[in-house]
């Protein structure tokens, strides 16, 4: 197990380095003056130069590259062009707020999806199964901002449940915050329920068709006993992978939801950064999200490895 962890950590280091490189290339891919490009053709040269110095884009490319790499590992993303404050100070709290929303969404989605997936798998090809599969297919096909807009119009406006502006005022109790965050979280739930349910269903179906399930049934266990004792522990591995991967897609989706509900999370921060062409903030956000994603997949991999005795006991085959 230890070797596995070390391998994964090494892999993460390499991946983060590549991530930083890709982002660097993206920002610097066009030759020429970054400052000029951002400030536009009408800005005075003095300002452009000052801008470039501040951004550090007047230094040789290689030096900028190394600095970029250093940044991702020290989490120092420079200062925002708009406000001058450290990028980290801007995006971390924003990430925290988005994280709260995401967490609520997951807390709701995961149990429901897994339960639905198991339910559907046990009734394979019957009506209930088709309903779950098709509902999941449909709901996950709808972009999050669309669901958000629909939820907004139906619940917040029409029925006056929930809030159209989802920012809970400072000091609201945890329960009170729920009222604000529920609708946007629900928009996310719609989007992710489908995939997680389908993967769980696939895992359970696969386990149901396996030989060890046959053995368990032939021993005389009831189907509930078989499910509890044998199937679940084998079927959940793909679900865990899926959940961790969804975290990557989640970020993209949450931006749309945040916009619709005017929620002050990472998404909104990024959108205003786009508007102002605030590259350090954008860069920092992308890198930070990448880091979060890598660690969530690491966690998932560790969990799966722990559940899989073959890896846990480090069998060399």
């Amino acid at each position: 197990m230890r070797r596995f962890i070390l391998q994964r950590l090494a892999s993460i280091v390499v991946t983060l380095w590549l991530l930083a490189t890709i982002v660097f290339l993206l920002v610097n891919v066009l030759p020429g003056d970054v400052g000029r490009q951002i400030l536009g053709p009408f800005a005075p040269q003095v300002e452009v130069d000052a801008f470039n110095t501040r951004l550090g884009t007047d230094k040789p490319l290689l030096e900028q590259y190394f600095q970029s790499i250093k940044r991702i590992f020290t989490l120092d993303f420079g200062d925002s062009y708009q406000s001058g404050t450290s990028v980290l100070d801007i995006i971390l709290p924003a990430l925290g707020r988005s994280g709260k929303l995401a967490l609520l969404a997951f807390v709701i989605t995961i149990p429901i999806s897994i339960a639905a997936g198991i339910y559907a798998a046990r009734r394979q090809d019957k009506f209930a199964d088709r309903v779950v599969v098709n509902a999941g297919l449909a709901s996950s096909s709808i972009p999050e901002f669309v669901t958000a807009a629909l939820l907004l119009s139906v619940f917040a406006v029409h029925w006056k449940l929930g809030k159209a502006f989802a920012n809970p005022p400072a000091g609201t109790s945890l329960f009170g915050q729920l009222e604000y965050l529920l609708l946007p979280a629900l928009a996310m739930v719609f989007a992710y329920f489908g995939y997680i349910a389908r993967m769980t269903r696939a895992g359970v179906i696969s386990a149901l068709m396996s030989d060890y399930t046959r053995t368990a049934t032939m021993k005389g266990l009831s189907s509930n006993q078989v499910m509890r004792r044998h199937i679940l522990r084998n079927a959940l591995a793909p679900t865990i992978t899926v959940i961790s991967v969804q975290i990557g897609y989640l970020i993209g989706g949450i931006i749309g939801v945040e916009k619709v509900f005017n929620y002050a999370g990472l998404g909104s921060t990024m959108l205003s950064a786009v508007g102002a062409k605030d590259i350090p903030v954008l860069q920092g956000a992308v890198l930070l999200v990448g880091i979060v994603y890598m660690f969530s997949t690491l966690l998932a991999d560790l969990l799966i490895a722990y559940l899989n005795p073959r890896v846990r006991l480090e069998v060399t085959r």
């Binding site: 098709n134 096909s141 709808i142 389908r198 696939a202 179906i205 993209g252 931006i255 999200v289």
Partner: protein
């Protein structure tokens, strides 16, 4: 990451349980029987309601995209109509805050999406197939390095990168296509790689090596025809995702500038009016987006069932 992963379990007692959803062909079937079986397979997919529905929806939007302004009841940019009219006989989807007919705008918006999304998906898939094939077959150091690169690409959220790219590279369809294609390539490569790995150790590949076939021949003439199934599935799924992403990006402001009838842009322009009670200006473009993505996924799902059964 396919939406539509189905399990392949080890069968229960007799194989017929997992056997043919497709028309079974007897061994020693004559060529005409074989052709009939192939036709039957396609007939079976045509019968699936999911497939029919998906194709119907796609067909409608394709027609809208091609014929554009010629078939819209009003001109999409014509703002001389009445403002904020709710859906009625004259204006089936109502009008927006500047008096434009929503139905016409929705119909015209199909073109913006269908110009970008399928192209991006196809480019991504083609590149992904090539990369995945090399990774899967050649293995070794190439695979190790490429896998790391693929993993780091997977950590990049498409929408965020899209926003970053728009900021640095400007707001054009080609940037969007480029971003989507580049970010899809590693995803497709991963799928193709696993399919290729499953084929690589099969004996027909060894037999080819014993004949002295070169690597490129083996990759693209021997192995590739056997992995077209997963590739087609991946293509249809990617198109769905591409529509999804394009819509999201244009909703977030990265799409064509106003007064374009692009769907995402329409939602973006009008969602604030929902609070005021004008729901139709958001609802119908949103529905359009949803319908196209669902259609793509329905098709992908049907194709996957067919591929798996054969």
């Amino acid at each position: 990451m396919s939406f539509t992963d189905q399990p392949s379990g080890t069968g229960m007692p007799p194989t017929i349980a997992t056997e043919t959803v497709m028309a079974p062909v007897a061994p020693d079937a004559s060529p005409s029987e074989r052709k009939q079986a192939r036709r039957e397979n396609w007939r079976l997919i045509r019968k699936r309601p999911a497939f029919i529905l998906g194709c119907a929806i796609v067909f409608v939007w394709v027609v809208c995209a091609i014929l554009g302004n010629r078939i819209t009841p009003h001109h999409p940019l014509d703002f001389r109509g009445p403002i904020n009219v709710s859906p009625s006989w004259d204006y089936l989807f109502g009008t927006d805050k500047t008096g434009r007919d929503v139905l016409s705008r929705v119909m015209a918006g199909a073109r913006d999406v269908l110009k970008i999304a399928p192209l991006a998906a196809i480019i991504g898939v083609v590149c992904g197939v090539i990369v995945g094939m090399f990774m899967g077959y050649l293995g070794g150091v190439l695979d190790l390095v490429a896998s790391r690169i693929v993993e780091s690409f997977l950590a990049l959220p498409t929408v965020l990168i899209g926003l970053l790219a728009i900021t640095t590279l400007g707001n054009s369809s080609w940037v969007v296509i480029g971003v989507i294609a580049t970010l899809f390539t590693p995803i497709v490569a991963r799928t193709v790689r696993s399919a290729v790995l499953a084929e690589r150790d099969l004996d027909y590949v060894t037999s080819a090596k014993l004949r002295g076939e070169g690597k490129l021949f083996i990759m693209f003439r021997e192995i590739l025809p056997n992995v077209t199934g997963p590739i087609i599935v991946e293509l249809t799924v990617r198109i769905g995702y591409a529509v999804f992403t394009v819509a999201t990006l244009s909703f977030l402001g990265a799409g064509p500038p106003p007064p374009s009838p692009d769907w995402g842009a329409q939602v973006s322009d009008n969602y604030n009016s929902i609070v005021a009670g004008f729901w139709w200006t958001t609802f119908f473009p949103a529905l359009a987006i949803a319908s196209l993505v669902i259609a793509a996924n329905l098709i992908a799902d049907s194709v996957q069932s067919v591929v798996e059964a054969s």
